[in-house]
């Protein structure tokens, strides 16, 4: 076994993102990375470290702080035949590019009657947990999941971080990938037999009979920890990783709820108008008679995410809160 393949076995989420980009750049000369500090600095979260040296300045392009401008250039480049991978440093900054994402990337195909595909990938960091305060910590993927014309991905495992990008680049639609900042340091063993993942389905990450924990992103490890604790109470929780936030794979969610008859949705976004609200509404519409208890939601508290550690922790979904909600749900009434 050579050192390269030995290191393949265990990999960090950050390294998986980096290897995914390397693969993409090797596989397709039309692909390139464009973003703030992706080149000489190596990426704000060090995802693109070393890639400028490996691929050169035509493929790894540093841009000025002009999110709407460079994202729009990505849209045009995609429409005209390139395969841009745009990096937006953090999803709070993506609001400066929202015009181009929504009014052009998401709209051009339908508005033109199907004349243009927009095979654009936008990666951005999302989420809280590093004490980065209110302008670098928000989870806005739920907003983007509102917009027809986009696909929205939330890799929560190293495997998805490693292989979702290739699927996103092969997709004819604009695909947004939300990488959770807390997950970058996560390490997992990669299954050497897996070389690709789909971007169409949710996945059961832990099978269980008593209730469904429905989640994505950095709330996935929290749900898995909660499930372990619930198991010691004799409660068998199923954990569903949504993976794809738009279009939602409700089939997998419904099948799980049809087995467990109880659902807790865990979403780091704010509760009001959130992705968790969407899933709860769809369960109410299509699976009400499967439910033996009300749907519960664990979301972030409705404040701009604060800096101080104890305040930030209190703002975000916690394992304790998930466990408490689950216990409450199965309590005899």
């Amino acid at each position: 076994m050579n050192p390269e393949s030995a290191s393949m076995a265990r990999m960090s989420y950050r390294e998986a993102c980096r290897q995914a980009i390397r693969d993409a750049l090797h596989a397709d000369p039309r692909s390139f990375v464009m973003g703030e500090d992706v080149g000489k600095y190596g990426g704000c979260y060090a995802v693109t470290k070393g890639l400028l040296e490996e691929f050169g300045a035509q493929r790894i392009i540093d841009v000025p702080l002009a999110e709407n401008g460079f994202t729009g250039i990505g849209v045009g480049a995609a429409v005209a035949g390139l395969r841009p991978i745009v990096e937006i440093m953090t999803c709070n900054f993506s609001l400066l590019a929202l015009d181009q994402i929504m009014n052009n990337a998401a709209t051009l195909s339908h508005m033109s009657g199907g004349q243009f595909a927009v095979p654009l990938v936008i990666r951005m960091a999302t989420g809280a947990g590093r004490q980065l305060a209110a302008q670098h910590s928000h989870s806005l993927e739920g907003w983007y999941a509102h917009i027809p014309g986009l696909k929205v991905l939330a890799p929560a495992t190293v495997e998805d971080a490693r292989y979702m990008l290739a699927a996103a680049l092969a997709d004819p639609n604009p695909v947004l990938i939300f990488e959770h900042i807390v997950l970058y340091n996560t390490e997992e063993d990669l299954d050497a037999a897996v070389h690709a993942v789909d971007i169409a389905h949710a996945k059961v990450r832990r099978a269980g009979r008593d209730l469904s924990l429905i989640t994505y992103g950095n709330s996935l490890p929290k749900c898995l920890r909660a499930a372990d604790r619930l198991a010691s109470d004799g409660l068998d929780a199923e954990v569903i990783d949504l993976r794809v936030l738009r279009p939602l794979d409700m089939t997998t969610v419904m099948e799980s709820v049809a087995r467990t008859h109880r659902a807790v949705i865990v979403d780091e976004g704010w509760k009001s108008g959130s992705l968790s609200a969407e899933i709860a509404a769809r369960l109410a519409e299509d699976a009400l008679y499967e439910l033996d208890a009300p749907v519960r939601r664990i979301c972030s508290r409705e404040v701009p995410v604060p800096y101080a550690m104890h305040l930030e922790e209190a703002t975000l979904p916690s394992v304790d809160a998930i466990v408490a909600a689950a216990r409450d749900l199965v309590k005899p009434r």
């Binding site: 000025p64 460079f70 250039i73 995609a78 005209a80 841009p84 051009l108 004349q115 639609n173």
Partner: protein, 331 residues
Amino acid sequence: MTGKIHLDRSHLHEIYRQMQRIRRLEAKCVELYQMQKIRGFLHLYDGEESIAVGVMAALEPHDAVVATYREHGHALAHGVPMDTILAEMLGKVQGCCRGRGGSMHLFDGKRRFFGGNAIVGGGLPLAAGIAMADQRLRPGRVTACFFGEGAVGEGVFHETLNLAELWRLPVLFVCENNLYAMGVPLQDSEVETDIWRKARAYRMPAEQVDGMDPIQMQVAAERAVAHIRSGAGPYFLEARTYRFRAHSMFDTQAYRTRDEIDTWKSRDPIERLRTWMLANHQITLDEAEAIDAGVVDEIAAALAFAEAGTLEPLEDLERFALMDNVAQEVA
């Protein structure tokens, strides 16, 4: 370049014909709007025809064009068929966007006409991106990007100009300065009212042109296109112009005077070209009338096509929201 172009009769006639196609099609659009056959927003190009016609005369068919919501003229001058434009405005599936876009969103992928952008300034980075792809995949091509002077208030105008010059992208920026952003006069919204100077601040070659004269527009555009095709980067033209009609069909024009409108109308580019050609024996009255009659016939045929068009079936409403399983042809 010294600004020499082929000013032969047939070219002059073609310039005249293109401007008449735009002017008269839009006059028909006003009628159709009053009959409520065209709905929504309708922005007319009356008075500004020289710009699209002059610039397109300097482009090749494989060059790309990005325009605004006031884009009927650009679409026509770049070769988008009049019948599909009119069918689009009537909301028919035979329209150039199957009736999904309407007046403000005309697209024609085959002819590299990329809209039809109704977010002011929104087309600029799109054009720069198309140019970036051309620079890598189809060197030698130019993307012409049209926008009004209102766009210079947007941050993305400055972001795009900076990046286009930084990366030497093959973009021809054409600012159609008609002096009012909807109803706000330029001097009430900008400190620097010579728009071309803003491009110079990004070290981009830039000049101001008489946007009421198609020949001067073409001469300037050819100079610009030669610069761009040489690989030297983008070029900026500020075309001084005036729209004769209201901003849209809902505009009472309280912000400008009748006298001002009349003064500009006395410089009507179509009337001026016609009068000049007649006086200089570049066209006979019979020839001019034959061109006009041809345009009238083309409009009648386009209208018949549009009226005979059908509505997109409702079951196709969500088609193309995603492009999964749609065969791709890169524009």
